[in-house]
């Protein structure tokens, strides 16, 4: 009889339209690092959210320390010593570090002996103490909005420890970190294991599992595929099981043939709404047939850089030239007409009208000119013709074809629609920001193929990604951005990922 600290038996959870978990059973031993491996949408987060009480399973049983329990809210989870670091941090931006950590479990005192109050002084002391104990350095009185992503993650970890959690769930903790920060985090996790905690690690990165995990459960499309002992299983096998077929780790990339300069950015500075420089004096060029990839930790000015090139943000100073033409002060529409396509980071927020039909969304680059409209009156026949064509060519799947409301489509198909629409413009410059975020491996391969095809067609590609693997795989030239500055620009084959990681941390060449 093994000593299982957590058992989830025959868990099934449905959401409208999908079965997120289908009869999943996992058993976690006390004191181990247990990894949940699976592609995006495989049901890892949902499974753990149920353990943490965010949702209730439709059927199945959760057993903690041998006792069957009901998890109705995160309070129940806390009561059973379970803590979770969510992929999207759940922090109140204008509260301090300490306020966030104690939220929900505030130390109390009585003012004048009568009035109950939150004892912030005590909270600050406790947090300082806790942070020292575990080597997680934070300043209790800093506001969340003023601290870096990696520090915010520490706050989330402290939040669990403050609640005396013994079972710690990490949901994709490395997605937002540099290689060096990942090193640090993995050390922390190891330290936590040594102090007797049980750790559940949700990830889709096999490398991390190799480094830290004892056992690994593989989920695919909501079903449990297998539970493996990490030491005795080769990485390739894990990958195959995760995806459900043979995967090759390398995309096929041909030798680059570079043409004339397409995009020429000189001394570009961009300010945010608080008049703070977020892109600082950046200069680079992209030639036809070249993929220029910008690497960097999230929030170092990447989005602002791409937005400024496309015109979503105004340049504060400097210039942007496209095929020799100065486009710095042109409107977005004029830039598009000059030959820029843009696949932005946040597809829901920026690239799609979710309540419009697929047909309308596929027409938004052209609706205002003939033949899509004449004299201000829309021609829906042309909308339909265009939609059917793009849907066919890019294999966009949806319930009712062009009449489908985009909101009801799957993320992967939404992305296909955006990529198809933008590529169909045959632009000289295509900007891809996080083109594969949240997609499964098959779809990622597909998009990578399309990016390479566009490069081989002779388009200049500006690729911005937080996934270092993606950058190493696709880039001809890499620019590393740190704190709004391009610290390093070099041909991709002269850099290793550790080099790039160092620049991402802000280490300059001596």
């Amino acid at each position: 009889m093994e000593d299982y600290i957590v058992e989830m038996r025959h868990i099934t959870k449905r959401f409208p339209g999908i079965v997120a978990n289908d009869d999943v059973t996992i058993q976690i031993k006390r004191g181990e690092v247990y990894a949940l491996l699976g592609e995006n949408g495989a049901g890892k987060s949902t499974l753990m959210s149920m353990l943490f009480g965010m949702y209730e399973p439709d059927s199945g049983e959760i057993i903690i320390n041998g006792k069957s329990v009901k998890m109705r809210s995160s309070n129940d989870a806390t009561a059973h010593s379970i803590g979770m670091v969510h992929q999207h941090f759940k922090l109140v931006d204008n509260y301090t570090v300490a306020e966030n950590i104690v939220l929900g479990m505030e130390p109390k005192k009585r003012a004048l002996g009568i009035f109950p109050m939150v004892d912030m002084k005590k909270a600050n002391e406790e947090i300082a103490e806790l942070s020292k104990t575990y080597g997680l350095e934070v300043n209790p009185t800093d506001k969340i909005e003023d601290i870096q992503v990696s520090v915010r993650q520490r706050v989330e970890i402290l939040k669990m420890l403050y609640r005396k959690a013994d079972i710690l769930i990490f949901d994709e903790p490395t997605a937002v970190l540099t290689p060096q920060e990942i090193e640090f985090l993995l050390k922390i996790i190891d330290g936590l294991r040594q102090s007797g905690k049980t750790i559940i690690l949700i990830t889709h990165k096999i490398e991390e599992i190799r480094r830290i995990a004892d056992r690994c459960a593989i989920l695919r499309r909501g079903k449990l595929i297998d539970v493996l002992d990490v030491k005795s299983t080769p990485s390739q096998e894990m990958a195959n099981l995760m995806v459900g077929r043979e995967v090759s780790f390398q995309a096929h990339k041909s030798e680059g043939k570079f043409g004339d300069v397409v995009l020429d950015v000189q001394n570009l500075t961009v300010q945010n709404s608080a008049k703070f420089d977020v892109v600082k004096n950046v200069s680079f060029q992209i030639r036809a047939g070249e993929i220029f990839a910008v690497a960097g930790v999230s929030g170092n000015g990447q989005t602002e850089l791409s937005d400024a090139v496309y015109g979503m943000l105004k340049a504060h100073s400097g210039s942007v030239r496209l095929m020799g033409k100065d486009i710095t002060d042109l409107s977005i529409r004029e830039r598009c007409e000059s030959g820029i396509s843009y696949i932005p980071e946040d597809r829901h927020h920026t690239a799609l009208f979710l309540d419009f039909t697929l047909g309308e969304n596929l027409a938004i680059r052209r609706y205002y000119k003939e033949p899509f409209s004449k004299k201000g009156i829309l021609k829906f026949d042309e909308f339909n013709r265009n939609a059917d064509e793009v849907i066919e060519r890019y294999d966009i799947r949806s319930g009712q074809g062009r009449k489908t409301t985009v909101r009801s489509m799957s993320g992967g198909n939404q992305q296909k629609a955006i990529v198809g629409r933008e590529i169909e413009e045959h632009s000289d410059l295509i900007i891809f920001v996080q083109p594969t975020r949240g997609m499964d491996i098959g779809a990622i391969e597909n998009i990578h193929r399309q990016i390479l095809a566009e490069r081989d067609r002779g388009a200049a590609i500006l690729l911005i990604s937080l996934e270092l693997d993606e950058i190493m795989e696709l880039a001809d030239t890499i620019g590393v951005i740190y704190n709004g500055e391009l610290l390093k620009i070099a041909p991709a084959d002269t850099l290793t990922s550790m080099d790039v990681g160092r620049y991402m941390m802000g280490v300059k060449d001596a």
Binding site: Y55, D93, N94, M105, V118
Partner: protein
Amino acid sequence: MEKVFIDGLSFAMPLLVMAIGAIYSEKSGITNLAVEGFQGFGAFVGALVAVILMPTLGDGSQTVIYIAMVAAFIGGGIYAILHALLCINFRANQTISGVVINILGTALTAFLTSTANKIMNGDSSNKFILGVCDRFTIPGLSQIPVIGGFFKNMYAFEFIIAGIAVAAWYLMYKTRFGMHLRACGENPQAVDAAGGNVARTRFIAVMLSGALSGVGGICFAYSISANFSPSIYMGYGYLAISAMIFGNWNILPTAAVCLFFGLAKSGGYQLCLNMGLPSNYSDIFMMLPYVLTLILLVFFSKKNHPPKAVGEVYDKGKR
């Protein structure tokens, strides 16, 4: 000059308690355009209780006023359940809900007033005649030159509101409830993950908002108009909202703004009198708070921070 302070303060205090009500709701993440309806309905309940009690306790009895204030507090809170239900449980657009609450408030109180009058004394008048609140002068403080005027001839309710304001500040910034409430308006997911109950916290906040607005309403009824009638819907609820915006959703600055609005109104009125202008010139001064709020927003809208999650439906199951 003294009159300016006396009238200014007696206008500012009810406004303040309504503005605090609005702050409670918005800080918890629920847009509140319904202040106007809350204060009207609260005032109605208070006035109804007062006219029922007046025959037994005597017309001039001050006890009636205090009971009426409690009734208004409860009445406003109960009416606010409607806004809370619409916004939190029924996922209505919060701005639209606010508008509907105001329309319904006017209709409901008019209907109930005339029905109540018909039952009680046979005529279907749309008014409840009330008295005026007693006034006090604080001995020492009122002797201070210039600002001593603040402490002369004060309505009793001004003390009560001052007490409420302090309590509201304490509750909002010093207690667990307040901490959760403010977090609900910034990032409800964080509260949920920390084991708080977003819906319940917001529900209570909206009810408190209605209760406080109700107190404001009955105080206006007991000072400016000395009766309850449809004229209670004068737009002071919206004035409280502008005070809240002007005060950047914080209680202390909002208090200063209310005082300023009050002084602008009474000062303007006195100025007109002194210059021998007809009283309608004071309308220009009543316009002032709105113009100033707009100008403030033009120049400082970047420094103005509404709660981040205000107006959004919080969906716990959202993935």
